[in-house]
Point group: C2
Chain length 339, copies 2
């Protein structure tokens, strides 16, 4: 079942069938009709792989995130799928599980020539890994890592966002503000910029940054936040606020506080990061920094689309910073009277 069969059935040439299939303007209505009937009769569908080979484009972009079990990446992936669809692109999805090796693999000729471009949210990848990349499909990075590389990079201003969160806690009168989400062993980890923001805002306010309140975590999920918070409390520290690397960690921490009879926000105010829907429905809704996920997704897709359209004349590398907003909820403000 190919163009040739349809052509034979309709008594025209393949070119004519191709013209009809591709909605080429200059086809007489009669021919068009005749061809269309043949198409319907045979149930013809164009073989897209052949088209891809011929055109050198597939309309597929790959998205590689650490894992979909993390709602932030799931929501982001959903946004990317939608943004891609708006440009008639489809998304090929891959997991990196936060493994440097898998991140490397995905940047190095992953599905070569079948993906037109790649959107990657790296966790472990180092600049030199990326510098060694040979694949020529456009690559755009998203997320909080900072690289100095010739690839577009989409990320909100993490330092400013973190400062906003800490500022909010300071404004509420909190002074012993813990940062929950450090990775002591890996200085270039994603959380680094947010830690810098925490330090900067405390410094700017003349509050001493107690390094004992920089609490490490083993990962980025709820269980890690719970363990990190438990360790902090077990060490005898008593913060009056927690700025967590992300919402999942904040949620894990709140669970631990609840188990230990600490009230949020009366005893400990909590701010997260990501604005997961999940944070809006807990017993205590979560104050959080909301990155504009739609914008991140849109900008990432547009970056690829533009580089593909720019026939060879590649523009300069861009650092784009979508907006963010602080969502003030019960974990800092307390519960308002039901209305």
């Amino acid at each position: 079942m190919s163009l040739k069969d349809v052509a034979a059935h309709a008594g025209v040439s393949v070119k004519t069938v191709s013209n009809v299939v591709n909605k080429y303007q200059h086809v007489t209505p009669a021919t068009r009709e005749k061809v269309q009937r043949a198409i319907d009769a045979l149930g013809y569908r164009p073989n897209l792989t052949a088209r891809h080979l011929r055109k050198g484009r597939t309309g597929i972009i790959a998205l590689a995130v650490p894992e979909l079990g993390n709602p932030y990446f799931a929501e982001l992936a959903g946004a990317v799928v939608d943004a891609a669809a708006a440009h008639d692109y489809t998304v090929l999805l891959d997991h990196t599980q936060g493994s440097r090796e898998r991140e490397l693999l995905v940047t190095q000729g992953f599905r070569a020539r079948v993906i037109d471009g790649l959107i990657l949210n790296p966790l472990e990848l180092e600049a030199e890994d990326l510098a060694a990349r040979t694949d020529d499909a456009p690559l755009v990075l998203i997320g909080e890592r900072r690289y100095d590389l010739p690839h577009d990079h989409i990320a909100i201003d993490n330092i400013a966002a973190a400062r906003t969160a800490v500022r909010h806690l300071l404004d509420l009168g909190r002074r012993r503000i813990a940062f929950l989400g450090a990775r002591g062993d890996r200085p270039s980890q994603p959380s680094h910029l947010r830690l810098l923001g925490w330090q900067a805002e405390l410094a700017a306010s003349g509050v001493t940054a107690d390094e004992a309140l920089v609490a490490p975590v083993e990962g980025w999920d709820r269980a890690d936040g719970a363990a990190g918070m438990a360790a902090l409390l077990d060490a005898g520290h008593r913060p009056d606020a927690v700025f967590a690397y992300n919402d999942l960690i904040a949620i894990g921490a709140m669970r631990v506080m609840s188990e230990r009879g600490l009230r949020v926000p009366e005893d400990v105010a909590v701010v997260g990061f990501d604005d997961l829907t999940e944070g809006r429905y807990g017993a205590v809704t979560l104050t959080t920094v909301a990155p504009d996920k739609q914008a991140i997704a849109r900008l990432a897709v547009e970056s690829i689309v533009e580089r593909l359209a720019g026939e060879g004349g590649v523009g300069a590398t861009r650092r784009l910073h979508p907006g963010f907003a602080l969502m003030e909820r019960e974990s800092t403000l307390g519960r308002r009277p039901a209305n």
Copy 2:
């Protein structure tokens, strides 16, 4: 940059390069070495679209779920990506947004010939839509709808699972058990089977099923659960337990109860469905029915792989029922003393 270039560079034929690339056994070490050097020198990577065209297979399967913002589908998608990777398949992802039209579109020649098979979790699709399908890529359905169609269908036994949940509540002495998640207007909706299970288990236990306790929702998210629960309470009903269609609805309902001073589980016990990680970290952890998502994903992928392997000789259509388990947590048992 193609096989031909490499062949020229190495001074051999295209066939020989192809043999090396495809790890064909009978190549003399000397030739292999020579070719490999040329490959490295030129940075050659096979053009997969050409290979796809030639072989008629792409190694890509499509997964269509309603939306990734729902953690159940996100977790499932993650499991599918992993299950596919185990068979050297990659996943192309699409959203249907629970729209019948989009579900239809995806079953009808979506990316024809570029996807080897399709895994679909339908919400709105009707049997006749599927019966009219012409695309010949293997299609496997997942999820709780019941069809009588010549496609493999992977789903846990929803009626049995629902009965287990209701049984648990009855065992705890609850008698006014609400079902939160009906869609009155659409009898063939996914929640139907779980409603049937609710009815069956009550009947089997000689408890009168109070139809007033069958509460409708407008959708499947937390906000819908909250609204549905609020409406139930506003109507003056006082259930002593809630069996929710899914965890998100249960979580929304619990939030409303918390706002209204109802204690879970003392006043109202709650059971959800899906075993989202989210349910394990709330102030009150959620008792829930846990479908075996890994198994669902694995079986779905295997179904496609097997049909693809079965050269024409297509086996009989299968209805597969992966297992499930009731996870008993605080929303029915209450909080145990911290240990």
